[in-house]
Point group: none
Chain length 198, copies 4
DNA sequence: CAATAATCGAGACGGTACGTCGCGTCTTGGG
DNA sequence: CCCAAGACGCGACGTACCGTCTCGATTATTG
C-alpha cells in the first residue's frame, strides 16, 4: 500500500501535516498582528508549538514562509452567476472591498505594493497565484458583457478592470472604517454609465 | 555672526547642512535600492559619510528619517490649465502613472499600502501631505466639470476620483514596463464615457 | 532454533551484532578524530550505517555510548615477570608511555582529567575499571620490591606510584613526538636512585 | 593627551574595560560551574550584563574566550627563595597540588589533556603561557641544585621535573579530598632520596 | 503457515546554543 | 555644541546537534 497520496513513500518519518498547518496558521495570525515583516520566525515556531528546525525544514527563509502563508489564505472569488454583468461585477467588487479592509488581506496588498524588492519571489508568486486569477475573472465578466451586448463593443477591458479594482482598493487605504454599504455598486455604476454629460 | 536663518546663534558649532542633505540623499537612494524598510540606518550614515549620531541628532528614528526623505521628493502636481476637464484629468493621470513607475515614488505607495502599521506616523503624514492634496486637486477638477456641465450633474466625485487614481496606480504594480503612451487618456475616456452600451 | 547465546529467544527480530560493533568502532574513531565530546551521535550513527534509534536502543545517552566505547579499548597491562622490580616497572612504564601517545588512549586521559563533571559516570567507571587496576599493579610491584629488599623499607608506595605514572603521562601532553627510546627506563632509574647528592 | 596606554587613540568609542573584565569573570565562574564546554556564551554575556556582540567583538568564538579566561587566571608561581633546593621544590609542589584541587584550575588541566583537538589553539597557547613557565621554573631550581652540589651531577633535569609535576598532578584526579598535609614534601623527598635500597 | 512482535534504516520532531546583524544610544578625541 | 568613528545592550536571524518519535520493511518466535 502507498502513503496517503499514492506516492512511493520516501524513507523516514513523514513530515507532520499538523505541524505544517500550525505554522501557517501562526504565521497568518502574526502577519495580522505585527505586519508583513514584523513577523518573527521564533514566535511563529513557538506559537505553533514547533521547533525552529521544523519550520526551516519546510521553508528556507522568512520569505518562503510568507509566500506559503499568503497562499494558504487563497480566498475564493465568488463565481459569477452569469445573469447580469452589472450584478456580477458588484459581487466581485464587494469581495475585493471587504478583503481590503480585513487586516490579513490588507497585508497582501502590502506585499504587492511595498515589499516587492525585499521579497521579490514572494511578490512574483503572489501576483501569479492571487492577483492574476482575480483580474482574469473580472476580465472574463467584462468580455462576456461585450459579447452579450451589455457593454459597449469598443470597451477597453484592461482599462475597465484596472479602474474597477483600483477604485475599490484605493478607497480608504489605512482607513479602519468599513466601506459604506452600496460602495461597490456605486463604483460599478459610475464605470458603467460614465461621468461625462450625455 | 548669525546662523543661516538669522536666529540668535546658539552657542557651539552649528549643524552641517552638508551632512543633512547627504543623509537625505543617501536615504532616498537606499529606499530605491532596498525598499522602504530594507533601508538600514547604518548604511545610510556610511554612504552619507556621516556618523550615526549625526543622523539621530536630527531624526529620532528610522520612521522620522523616512518621512523627511519622502518629503524631500515632493513632486509638484501640475496645475490644471482649466480649459478642458478631460485634458486636465489626463495631464494629472499622466503624472501619477509616471510616478508609479519611478522606483523612488513607487516606494511612496509602498508606504501607503504596506507599511502602515509599522510606520503609522509616516503613513498619516504621507497621506496628509501627499495623497490628500493630489486627491483634492482631482476632486476640484471633477467638481468644476459638474459646474460647467462637462460632467453629469449626478457624478459621484469621490467614486470617480478613486476609479481614476486607482486604475492608474493599480496598473502594472511591480511591472517595469513603462505605461503605454496614451494609457492615461484611455483611462480618463473610459471613465468619462462609461462602458455600458447605450 | 536459539539465538546466538542460547538464551530462550525473545519474540521479535533479534538485535544485530553487526550494528552494535559498527557503532562502537565508529565511536572510537570519532573520539580519536574529534575528542571526547566532539563526538556527535548523528555522525556516529551515519558512519556506522545505522539509524539513530538503533544506537539509542542500546545506550541511553552519549555518556553510556562513550563508556562502552572506552571499555572496548581495554588494553591489558603486561603481567610483571617477577624477576626484577626495575625491569617490571620499566615494562609497565613503557606501556603507559606508548598509550599516552596513542590518540585513542590519550582521549582516555582526557576523560580522567577533563570531562569529569560533564560525564561523571563515565569518569567513575573509567577510574574503577582502568586506572585503578593499573595503579594497583604498579603498587604491587613496588610492595614486592620492599618485601624482597630491592626497595628501601620506608618507601612510600603511593608516592612512588604517583611519581612514576605522573612523569610518564605528563611528558609531552599534546606532543606528537614519540617518547625517546629509553625514556621509561630513565624515569624509573631517576626514581630508584634519587636525585639528591649522596 | 593620549589614551591609557599612550597609543595614538583610534577613533571611535574605546572598548569598555569594565565589560571585558565582567565577561572574563563570568566565564571563569561558568567554567567552574559547568565545565570547559558546558559554558554557554549566551549565559556568560547575560551574567556579565553585556550583549553578545560585545563578547564576540573581542573573541571570535568560544575557544578564544576560553583562552582569555584561562590566561586571566595566571596564578603566579612562588619565586624560589634560593636557600635550599628542597624547600623551593616543596613550595612549588604545594602550589601545584593546591591548584590541582581548585576546580577552576582543575579545568585548566582538563584543557591541557582533554580538549586539545577540540580547541587546538587554546591548548597551544595554554601550554606556551602557563605550563612552560611553570616547568621552566622548576627546571631552573633543579639546575641550580646541580650547580650548588645539592643534586647529583648526573641528574636528568627533564625527567626529574616530569616526575615531580606528574606526581603532584596525578594525585587524586577527580578526588575532592584535599591533599594530605605534607604530601608535597613527601613527593619531593621520595624523588630526592630515591626509593632503591642503598 | 499465519500472526505477532521487536528490530532495522531513515529522517522528522521539539528544544537549545551558536555566531551574525541591525537598531537606537553612548562615549571617545578633535574642530 | 557639533563632528566621524565605533562600541554598547538588545533581540531576531538561520544553523547544528541532542535525544525522541514515527514511518515502511525485515526477521525472528509463537500459535
Amino acid at each position: 500500500m502507498r502513503t496517503e497520496a499514492g506516492r512511493p513513500g520516501r524513507p523516514g518519518r513523514p513530515r507532520s501535516e499538523r505541524a505544517e498547518q500550525a505554522i501557517l496558521d501562526a504565521t497568518v495570525h502574526a502577519i495580522g498582528d505585527c505586519g508583513v515583516d514584523g513577523v518573527r520566525c521564533e514566535d511563529v515556531a513557538a506559537r505553533a508549538g514547533v521547533g525552529k528546525a521544523t519550520l526551516y525544514r519546510r521553508w528556507a527563509c522568512k520569505e518562503d514562509l510568507l509566500i506559503a502563508a499568503f497562499a494558504s489564505l487563497a480566498a475564493p472569488l465568488p463565481q459569477p452567476r452569469g445573469e447580469s454583468v452589472r450584478e456580477d461585477l458588484i459581487a466581485m467588487a464587494e469581495v475585493l472591498a471587504e478583503g481590503a479592509m480585513d487586516p490579513r488581506y490588507a497585508r497582501q496588498f502590502a506585499l504587492l505594493h511595498g515589499e516587492g524588492e525585499r521579497y521579490p519571489r514572494l511578490l512574483a508568486r503572489y501576483k501569479e497565484q492571487v492577483i492574476e486569477p482575480r483580474r482574469e475573472l473580472i476580465r472574463s465578466v467584462l468580455r462576456r458583457g461585450v459579447a452579450t451586448g451589455e457593454l459597449r463593443p469598443d470597451t477597453d477591458v484592461e482599462i475597465a478592470m484596472l479602474a474597477l479594482t483600483g477604485a475599490v482598493m484605493a478607497r480608504g487605504k489605512g482607513d479602519t472604517t468599513p466601506a459604506a454599504p452600496g460602495f461597490a455598486a456605486r463604483v460599478v455604476d459610475a464605470l458603467l454609465r460614465g461621468i461625462a454629460a450625455r
